[in-house]
């Protein structure tokens, strides 16, 4: 279903490797099944031929790997990025986490990625998957071919895609696309419309399922502290398990605050959560608030922008305007 196919990307990667433009390529490695792609480094044409893969399951955002990768050795690393991944990349550049000179960004257009959780809920025993614009045909182990509408198994972040435009690029493979209109704040608005009690109950229901695997933090391109406060035994707040059924609100809410203004809404947190917690909604609430209180702002849209919360202008609203005192919803 992706317009640009795997072979075209392999050809581009080989060209960059053999031409000496880059010393290695960061991409996705083929897995055991048609859907389990793993991020990985390719150093030769042979490795690319054998292991490189791209398609409707190339969901992992590769930008965070560049922090370590650019520190490892000299020479450039080529990296494949979908449009949303480039926002994370720009944000990492803004925060001086990556040396831009060491990276060669190859943009790949994206038609939306399939959510593995939704797919396995829709069909049991997946042998193979064929995808077109309308449908996903799953070849199953015991039920023959199962056809489901593509929209029903697309990732939430793709259904609410905020941009198909690459905001960082050295080269684009395929076509150029635009920032999209989306309804990504609708769900946040629904939560805002709840009473505080309803909202508390909603989040308690969601967050109490957390098992503190830290996958959301570890995958998050905005979470790049060298040592997270929650991993630091000297911090006094280190914890490996929920100590009560709602303790996790602290971890998640602190994390959401910490990435406020820096979160690009890439959606990796919700993608990786083994407990199906819609963590992106916390971040989106903050993005929506910033948009409403300080004007539209998209983290990672460009390099070097100052997020409203770390900037000061004479026109800034006073805190007293942002929070209506006495309002229970504040």
């Amino acid at each position: 279903m992706q317009e640009v196919m795997r072979d075209k990307l392999v050809a581009k990667a080989k060209e960059l490797l053999t031409g000496g433009v880059v010393t290695r390529v960061l991409g996705w490695k083929r897995g055991e099944f048609c859907y389990d792609l793993t991020p990985g480094i390719f150093k030769s044409a042979d490795e690319l031929d054998k292991e490189f893969d791209f398609g409707d399951f190339a969901a992992p955002n590769l930008s965070k790997y560049l922090i370590d990768e650019t520190r490892k050795e000299d020479g450039k690393v080529a990296v494949f990025m979908k449009p949303c991944d480039t926002y994370s990349f720009n944000q990492l550049l803004t925060e001086h986490r990556i040396d831009r000179e060491k990276v060669y960004v190859i943009g790949v257009p994206c038609e939306g990625m399939i959510d593995n959780k939704k797919l396995s809920a829709a069909a049991d025993g997946i042998k193979n998957v064929a995808v077109d614009y309308e449908n996903v045909v799953v070849e199953t182990l015991w039920d023959g071919n199962v056809t489901v509408p593509r929209e029903s198994v697309l990732a939430e972040r793709c259904l609410n895609c905020k941009s198909k435009k690459h905001v960082a690029l050295d080269e684009l493979v395929g076509y150029e696309d635009e920032i999209t209109e989306c309804n990504r704040f609708d769900e946040v608005a629904r939560l805002e419309a709840m009473t505080p009690e309803e909202r508390f109950e909603f989040w308690q229901g969601e967050l109490s399922r957390c098992i503190r695997c830290n996958a959301c933090r570890d995958v998050c391109p905005a979470c790049t502290c060298e040592k997270c406060v929650f991993d630091n035994p000297s911090s006094g707040v280190e914890s490996k398990a929920p100590s009560d059924s709602f303790e996790e609100k602290m971890f998640h809410i602190i994390r959401a605050f910490h990435v406020t203004g820096r979160c690009t809404d890439c959606g990796e947190c919700s993608r990786v959560c083994p407990q199906n917690i819609p963590l992106h909604l916390l971040n989106r609430k903050f993005i929506k608030d910033i948009n409403e209180l300080w004007g539209e702002y998209q983290a990672g849209a460009e390099v070097g922008s100052r997020a409203p919360l770390v900037n000061y202008t004479f026109d800034d609203m006073e805190p007293s305007e942002a929070v209506e005192r006495g309002d229970k919803n504040a």
């Binding site: 099944f33 793993t38 990985g40 054998k50 025993g125 182990l141 098992i211």
Partner: protein
């Protein structure tokens, strides 16, 4: 063997729940989950739960003891009490075998873990054969028979009935107590189902995966393999694989200060975490490569070395389904044994 028609399943659950807590796999927002049965709790159609039955016997977090402090006196309070009786219905063959893996660690080695033992003694497992294994299943690799799960009562669910066969003392007592709502059954339907399952197991994509290359005594062969660096290169270092694993058993013990004393609790720990078994000198595993290696060497080499060849993976496939970057024990096994040619 006893049976009950499926339209009376709720009656069966109600009868069991009369005398003890009953947990059955039921659908929830997180996926299928063992849920305390009350009238109306419906059995899931999912093959397996997001997390196994380990949590019932070895919960993610539990208090061990309390200390009360008054001046210079410290009172140690033993908070253990007899656990309530409970029944788990619908545990799959992989997850039941996982309990044997945990028993070896917590019951069959000194000192016996009394917290675990308490729960184990009060729990009855009704296992359920798998008629619809999925592509991530590979319990057969570890000699587990999905057609004949272990457990206290082994169940087979056909289109119209649930067949139950008690195989332990606890199971027999429970099944006897259900005799007025169940009826005697011959093994025909169950035998047919077992044959179907056995045939299906051979058709699974991972049916050919073997443990031949692994086991005790293989530490030197694999420890310095160049594959570890490649396999672990994109590992995030999160704890998903360990926390959804039905056999991972490592824990940490911490003290939590309360107003007038201290609560000592333990919680699951993950060898993938940078602070795992952190020592005074720093850490014995400083890179993700070393931490990653530890997890798989434990499953495939160290555990079998210490437990008469038994592996501590049961092929449930949870890590295959849940790893954020889709690295897992199957990819590790194939890479280490050198049979992975990168093709599908």
């Amino acid at each position: 063997m006893r049976k009950i028609s499926l339209d009376k399943l709720d009656l069966l659950f109600a009868k069991i729940a009369e005398n003890q807590s009953l947990y059955i796999p039921s659908d929830s927002v997180e996926g299928a989950k063992f849920t305390k049965w009350t009238n109306g709790t419906a059995l899931t159609n999912e093959l397996n739960t997001v997390r196994g039955i380990k949590d019932f016997f070895f919960p993610q977090s539990e208090d061990l003891m309390k200390f009360k402090m008054q001046g210079k006196n410290i009172e140690v309070i033993d908070i253990r009490d007899e656990h309530e009786d409970f029944v788990i219905f619908g545990a799959r063959a992989c997850d039941v075998r996982a309990m044997t893996v945990l028993d070896n660690v917590f019951l069959h080695a000194e000192p016996v873990d009394t917290y675990y033992k308490n729960r184990r003694e009060h729990g009855i497992i009704m296992s359920l054969a798998c008629t619809r294994p999925v592509e991530t299943c590979f319990c057969g690799t570890f000699g587990i028979d999905a057609a004949n799960p272990e457990g206290d009562i082994v169940c087979h669910k056909t289109d119209d009935a649930l067949y139950m066969n008690a195989v332990s003392e606890k199971g027999t007592a429970l099944l006897d107590s259900l005799s007025d709502i169940t009826e005697d059954a011959d093994t025909k339907a169950v035998d047919e189902q077992k044959a179907l399952i056995k045939e299906r197991m051979t058709k699974l994509p991972l049916a050919e995966l073997t443990t031949d290359a692994f086991g005790g005594g293989k530490t030197e062969k694999f420890f310095d393999s160049p594959e570890w660096a490649k396999l672990s290169e994109s590992c995030l270092g999160c704890g998903t694989c360990t926390f959804v694993c039905p056999t991972c058993q490592c824990y940490d013990i911490r003290d939590f200060k309360t107003n007038d004393g201290v609560v000592r609790y333990r919680c699951w720990d993950s060898c993938m975490y940078s602070q795992f078994t952190r020592m005074a000198h720093g850490n014995n595993r400083n890179s993700q490569k070393e931490r990653f290696r530890q997890r798989f060497m434990h499953k495939l080499v160290y555990y079998p070395e210490n437990n008469n060849g038994m592996f501590s993976c049961v092929g449930c496939g949870r890590c295959l389904a849940k790893c954020p970057i889709r690295m897992n024990i199957v990819k590790v096994m194939k890479a280490l044994e050198g049979t992975d040619n990168g093709s599908n």
